[in-house]
Every structure is written in structure tokens, then in C-alpha cells.
């Protein structure tokens, strides 16, 4: 259960706060009534129809779902943290998208955004997550790594294995909305918890602000360092504000378990290593996650989670498990086969370049990971990746010997 501190953080009333700082407000000469009157006048002058965005050239999930009626219902609502719909959708308005790539087009500012603006978030979630209906369906969470089988890949093909997810700390606003003090609080909570990790998970924190040049170079060489976001998808959502204040990276001594703090989410947790031992990567992932969760709970904090949406993160595309499990793999023959894309689609896998999302493949090496995030558990998704990668390796081997390959039948979306 959330302790009294988190309760205080999440359900406040503006009047109470203003009463407590009444003296200051009066002295400044701008009474509450001035501001309320001005706001009422603006609402009268600019009804929702005047503010409804022009989305005719847009190709993203938000633009497809946001009708003038929905906008009219939601424009004047606020979350308990005073976050509004216009702030959720700004990134989708500013980034019309590409005819071939459908982005999400909206973000949450806090946990309550998904409730207060459910009328828009629910269809967007359904669109992005293959028909998952948050109104009627439940998301399963399963971090028991022992259930996973055949998780050891042929290392003549698989160069490295990686699993990542995100976690948000309940009671603090998300990166598009958070104030500097909230962001610093996230950093404090996370770093304090991480300092409690022991054994193969023990490590240290590198604040982006205080990093030395040498440390920075080492982190870049180890492929661990993240940069200030430049993608307009992220900057238009306000996630790069105050950079690099309260951002940093924690990693264990072995450099195979790391946490990004205050990048696109409160925390991003990554387990990775060279080679094909996905089972070990996932096992460390689950163990580390559970320990971190335990450590923050000891201090009265918890992760944002509910049984409708699973783990709550900034971008609706990462709801549910927030999990991307993948490998860097060499498939020189298969990757050139015209059936490759169809095989990936049916296996519910996705390819990316070796620089991550929106990059190109280098040489024959490609990044393959799960497409889905919501509606299946972590164990199910990782198993799906393991089975899928093993299938792809089989195909590559067959093609090497001049044998033919089969396109597998498509995997079912959600379990009943």
C-alpha cells in the first residue's frame, strides 16, 4: 500500500495549497479570483472547436482517434497534478508522422492521465496494441525467469542478447510533466535503492551533470551512455527540459545490468551481455528488477502498475510489460530473402538497425526483438523471442545448405 507521503502527492486540492500560501499570493497582487475570471473568459472566447488541432496531414494513433467530440469532452479536464489533454497530445500535433510509420502521437504526464483522458488513451492503446481493450481486458505480469526454456542461442549467429523495460515511481509526475524537484526526487529514490544491490548486481551511479570526460568516454565505449534526446518526438513532449539535471546512469561492476535515470521514463532497466545466453540475461533482469522493487518498497515507494495497463510508462507504446527483448544477430542469407519480413511478422518480431530504433543495419547484423508489449506477460514475450530467434537460425542454416524454408503460421494475439 502507498504510504501517507505518496497519498499526499497524488490527490491534492488547489484551494488548500493556495490558502497555505495566501499571504504570498496577496502580496504579489494577483488574487485567485483574477486568474479564475480570466480563465472563464478564455473558455468562453475559445470553445474547444477553436482549439481543435488540424490533423488532416497527420498519421499517428492520436490523430486517428481524436474526434472533435472527444476533444470537446476532455479539453477542460485536468489530472490532480493539473496536467491537461493539450499537453498530452502536443507531440502528436507537432509531429505529423510519415505515411509508412505510424507513431503513437501522445504521452502521459502522470499516472492519472491514463484515467482522466481514458476516452482518448483507450482507443489509442487499442490501435497500438493490436486490439487490446483496456476497458475489458487484464494484463498478466510474470517475472519468473525459471519458466523460460531453450534460451541458449547458437553463438555463430547471435552476437549479443538484451532485455530492457521501464519503471515509473508512483506519486511522481512523468518526464513530460515533472518539475525539477520531482525529477531530482526520482533520481534520489532510484540511486538510494540501487546502492543497496549486492553481489553480481552491486555497482555505482554516474550523474550526467558531474561525469568526468574520462568516465563519459568509457561509458560511450561500453555502449552504455545515453544522449540528450534530439528526436522531435521526444523534445516536443517536453522530456528534454532542464537537461542534464537529475539524469544519470547506474551500472553494476560487470557492466551487464544498468539503469538509465530520467531519460524517456523515470527508469529504464537493461540487462545485456555478449553472446547468446538469453536465459541468463532474463534471469538477471528479473532478479534485479525484483530486488530494486523491494528496495524502494522498504522506503515507502512503489512502481506505477495496475491490472488494466500493467506497468505505467510515459509512452502508451510501452505499457504492459514495457519489455523489449532482443538480440544482435547475423542472418546474411535470410535477411535478404524476400520472405524475411513476413516471417518476422508472423513470429511477432521486429527488426531494427544496430543503433536501436530508426537506425539502419550495419553489415549483415540486425537487431531482432518482440513487437508486442501489452496483453502478454514478460515470460511469454521472452519465450516468444527465444522460439522466434531459434526458428530464424534454423531458416538460416537450411538456406546455407540450399534447403527451402517455411513461413510459420501467425502467432495468436492474446490468450483467452
Amino acid at each position: 500500500m502507498a504510504n501517507s507521503f505518496t497519498r499526499m502527492m497524488s490527490g491534492r486540492h488547489t484551494a488548500v495549497i493556495l490558502a497555505s500560501i495566501g499571504a504570498g499570493t496577496l502580496a504579489s497582487g494577483y488574487l485567485l479570483s483574477d486568474h479564475v475570471a480570466a480563465a472563464a473568459e478564455r473558455t468562453r472566447l475559445y470553445p474547444p472547436s477553436a482549439d481543435y488541432p488540424d490533423l488532416r496531414k497527420h498519421n499517428n494513433c492520436m490523430a486517428a482517434a481524436l474526434t472533435p467530440t472527444i476533444y470537446g469532452h476532455l479539453r477542460d479536464k485536468k489530472t490532480p497534478n493539473d496536467w491537461t489533454l493539450d499537453q498530452c497530445i502536443q507531440t502528436g500535433v507537432d509531429n505529423p508522422g510519415h505515411p509508412f510509420i505510424k507513431t503513437v502521437g501522445m504521452v502521459a504526464g502522470d499516472e492519472e492521465s491514463y484515467e482522466v483522458f481514458a476516452e482518448l488513451f483507450d482507443p489509442v492503446i487499442k490501435d497500438r496494441h493490436n486490439g487490446y481493450d483496456p476497458r475489458t481486458m487484464k494484463h498478466p505480469t510474470d517475472l519468473d525467469a525459471s519458466k523460460v526454456t531453450s534460451g541458449m542461442f547458437d553463438e555463430r549467429y547471435v552476437l549479443s542478447s538484451r532485455v530492457r523495460t521501464g519503471r515509473s515511481i508512483r506519486g511522481l509526475s512523468l518526464p513530460p510533466a515533472c518539475s525539477r524537484s520531482e525529477r531530482r526526487e526520482v533520481e534520489r529514490v532510484a540511486v538510494t535503492a540501487l546502492s543497496g544491490l549486492k553481489g553480481d548486481l552491486s555497482g555505482r551511479y554516474y550523474s550526467l551533470k558531474e561525469m568526468s570526460d574520462r568516465e563519459q568516454q568509457q561509458l560511450i565505449d561500453d555502449h552504455l551512455l545515453f544522449d540528450k534526446p534530439v528526436s522531435p518526438l521526444l523534445t516536443a513532449a517536453g522530456m528534454a527540459r532542464d537537461w542534464p539535471d537529475a539524469r544519470g546512469i547506474w551500472h553494476n561492476n560487470e557492466k551487464n545490468f544498468l539503469i538509465w535515470i530520467n531519460e524517456e521514463d523515470h527508469t529504464r532497466i537493461i540487462s545485456m551481455e555478449k553472446g547468446g545466453n538469453m536465459k541468463r540475461v532474463f534471469e538477471r533482469f528479473c532478479r534485479g528488477l525484483k530486488q530494486v522493487e523491494h528496495l524502494i518498497q522498504e522506503r515507502g515507494w512503489e512502481f506505477m502498475w495496475n491490472d488494466r495497463l500493467g506497468y505505467v510508462l510515459t509512452c502508451p507504446s510501452n505499457l504492459g510489460t514495457g519489455l523489449r527483448a532482443g538480440v544482435h544477430i547475423r542472418l546474411p542469407i535470410l535477411s535478404r530473402d524476400p520472405r524475411f519480413k513476413r516471417i518476422l511478422d508472423n513470429l511477432r518480431l521486429q527488426k531494427r538497425g544496430t543503433g536501436g530504433v530508426d537506425t539502419a543495419a550495419t553489415g549483415d547484423t540486425v537487431d531482432i526483438s518482440n513487437l508486442d508489449r501489452l496483453g502478454k506477460s514478460e515470460v511469454e514475450l521472452v519465450q516468444l523471442v527465444i522460439d522466434g530467434i531459434n526458428y530464424l537460425i534454423e531458416c538460416e542454416k537450411r538456406l546455407e545448405k540450399g534447403q527451402d524454408i517455411k513461413i510459420p503460421s501467425p502467432i495468436l494475439q492474446f490468450r483467452k
Binding site: R42, D51, E185, D242
Partner: protein, 381 residues
């Protein structure tokens, strides 16, 4: 209107030390002025439209600046920002505008007849002349803060006003949203078209939101007078032509501005102006006249002279590359314009440009003949 840090009351539950930004690596006017104590004092305020100090300063936090170039680091969200956040903006204005005091009065003079000369700059050196300013429309919030509804209302009002002009000002409005490729190509070739802002100084202040909704360009048939709608300010008004007849450029500028202002006043939406700050614009650097009057001038010899920068400073002029602010000069051709905006009138500022450029062309001619220019170097204006 909803944007950025408007959930201000919620932030007040955190201590000042926890919310105060880290400005230790910053070089801009805002960072030099905003102490923790000042921040603590003004952070619970908002203008009637809901703009807060965090909104004002976000661009300055996100853009630490450069050791050699001092940017302003803050913007206004509405007319009232300059009042409500006086403690912060008055010292910023003073730093930026040569010690301008909170009690000083600014003089506005748009009577082109008061300009002396300016019609005889040597066209062998002065390639083109241009005067620009900005105007904000009373009753609306400014580009960092306004909603789509407001921006569209500003566009509607502006288009009505601008397309009703006649004579040499008669022209057409091109909304960015529905421009054809041919129109776009033509406007680029004419050097009229403005782009979606990419400078983080502008994007971090929220001015590029909803692009290109509500944005457009109007220009007259002669292509000597144009107005940008909803770029960095509500309106940017530009008068320009080839050659050195700055007098004619300034006349067209003044007459056009006054015609536009009359029309806006009739709709009860005059321009934002007061006798302390002159014309109110988004960036404090453009307060006063908001005027940048300048020429593209060939000064290959003078520009490499050891005293070039000092001459410019004494003449109260500024050099830029031919692409505008933060660009390099091409082929010895420089953009020379007035450095001041606040504390002197439009006529006075353009006079400085006219007199200063005339002098510098004479210096260039002297240097061409191999003669010295030391006796011509002016005293500080």
C-alpha cells in the same frame, strides 16, 4: 493556455532549493540575474493567463549558451509578464539594453520625415536596404504561450487587416499550411519565406508548437513590403528593396505600419505598447522599437581592418553575415544594422544606420586608394 509548466501550484509543495534550476554552467542574462532568493519570491505568481516564472525561464535553462555570446535566456508569455515578473525582467532588460532603468521612458517616433538624408547611399557598395520590426496584438497571449484558438484568431485578424491595404501595400496572404509547391518555391527565391524554427532557443520556449497552423506570409505586389504572421512574434513587419535608398524603405515601413495599426485599433485590438518599454514583444531583446534597420554592404577592405569592430561599436552598429543572425559573411559583404532597440526612437536608430554606413563606405573608398582612415574614426555615439 495549457503548455509546459503550468501545473505551477502543485510544484509549490516542493522547497525552493529543490525546484531552483542549476544555472552554474550557464551564460545568459537570465542566469546572471536569477538568484535562488528571487526565484523563491516570484515562483508562486502567475499572470492572468496563467504564465509562470518557470515558463519564462525554461528556454534559458535548456540553452546554457556560449562563453562568447550572451543570449537573453527568457521570454514573455503575455503583456503582463513584464509586470508580474518585474524583479527578474527589469535587471535582464537593464543588462541587455545598456543600463535602461525601470523608471526610464522610451520614445517612439515613426515620422519618416524626421530622418535626414538616407536616399544617397552608394549602390556600388550598398546592395540592399531593409527595416524590420515586430508588433504584438493586444488581447492575445504571445507565441510561447498561446493556444491554437488564439493563434488562429490572430491570423484571422491579421489577414483581414493586411488584405484590406491598398496602393503600394496591396498584396496577398499565403498561409503556410496550404501553400502550393510553386508558391513556396517563389517565396524562397524572393528571400521571403520563413522556416519552422529549429533553433533550440526558440523551440524550447514553445514557439514552434502546432506548426504550421496559423502561420503565413503576406507581401505586396511589388515585393517590397511583407508581414510574417505568428513566427517568433504575432507580426513581423519588413520593408526592403535593392540598392541604398534607405529613406524610401523607411518611409514605406512607417506608412505601412501606421495603416496596419489603424485597422487593428478599429477592431479594438491595438498593438501592445507602453511608455516605459515601447512596443512589447516576445523576447526582451526586441523591446522598445523592435527595429532592426540595416543594409547588405560590400566592405572587403574595411572589414579586415584592425579597427573594424571598434568602429562598429562606436557607431552603435552591429555586423551579421548575409544569412542574418548567427551566419557568416560571404565575399566581404556584411549585414550592418543598429545594435540598440530600447531607449531611442525608430528615427534615431535608422539615422545611426544611415550616417554610419555612409561613413563606412567612405572609409572603404579611402582604403581602396591606399589611404589611411585613422582621422575618420568617429567618437562614441
Amino acid at each position: 493556455m495549457p503548455f509546459g509548466n503550468t501545473h505551477n501550484n502543485f510544484k509549490l509543495n516542493y522547497k525552493v532549493e529543490d525546484e531552483y534550476p542549476d544555472l552554474s554552467k550557464h551564460n545568459n542574462h537570465m542566469a546572471k540575474v536569477l538568484t535562488k532568493e528571487m526565484y523563491g519570491k516570484i515562483r508562486d505568481r502567475q499572470t492572468p493567463s496563467g504564465y509562470t516564472v518557470d515558463d519564462v525561464i525554461q528556454t534559458g535553462i535548456d540553452n546554457p549558451g556560449h562563453p562568447f555570446i550572451m543570449t537573453v535566456g527568457c521570454v514573455a508569455g503575455d503583456e503582463e509578464s513584464y509586470e508580474v515578473f518585474k524583479e527578474l525582467l527589469d535587471p535582464v532588460i537593464s543588462d541587455r539594453h545598456n543600463g535602461y532603468k525601470p523608471t526610464d521612458k522610451h520614445k517612439t517616433d515613426l515620422n519618416f520625415e524626421n530622418l535626414k538624408g538616407g536616399d544617397d547611399l552608394d549602390p556600388n557598395y550598398v546592395l540592399s536596404s531593409r527595416v524590420r520590426t515586430g508588433r504584438s496584438i493586444k488581447g492575445f497571449t504571445l507565441p510561447p504561450h498561446n493556444s491554437r484558438g488564439e493563434r488562429r484568431a490572430i491570423e484571422k485578424l491579421s489577414v483581414e487587416a493586411l488584405t484590406s491595404l491598398d496602393g503600394e501595400f496591396k498584396g496577398k496572404y499565403y498561409p503556410l499550411k496550404s501553400m502550393t509547391d510553386a508558391e513556396q518555391e517563389q517565396l524562397i527565391n524572393d528571400h521571403f519565406l520563413f522556416d519552422k524554427p529549429v533553433s533550440p532557443l526558440l523551440t524550447c520556449a514553445g514557439m514552434a508548437r502546432d506548426w504550421p497552423d496559423g502561420r503565413g506570409i503576406m507581401h505586396n505586389d511589388n515585393k517590397t513590403f511583407l508581414v510574417w504572421v505568428n513566427e517568433e512574434d504575432h507580426l513581423r513587419v519588413i520593408s526592403m528593396q535593392q540598392g541604398g535608398n534607405m529613406r524610401e524603405v523607411f518611409k514605406r515601413f512607417c506608412v505601412g505600419l501606421q495603416k496596419i495599426e489603424e485597422i487593428f485599433k478599429k477592431h479594438n485590438h491595438g498593438f501592445m505598447w507602453n511608455e516605459h518599454l515601447g512596443y512589447i514583444l516576445t523576447c526582451p531583446s526586441n523591446l522598445g522599437t523592435g527595429l532592426r534597420g540595416g543594409v547588405h554592404v560590400k566592405l572587403p577592405k574595411l572589414s579586415t581592418h584592425a579597427k573594424f569592430d571598434e568602429i562598429l561599436t562606436r557607431l552603435r552598429l552591429q555586423k551579421r553575415g548575409t544569412g542574418g543572425v548567427d551566419t557568416a559573411s560571404v565575399g566581404g559583404v556584411f549585414d550592418i544594422s543598429n545594435a540598440d532597440r530600447l531607449g531611442s526612437s525608430e528615427v534615431a536608430q535608422v539615422q545611426l544606420v544611415v550616417d554610419g554606413v555612409k561613413l563606412m563606405v567612405e572609409m572603404e573608398k579611402k582604403l581602396e586608394k591606399g589611404e589611411a582612415i585613422d582621422s575618420m574614426i568617429p567618437a562614441q555615439k
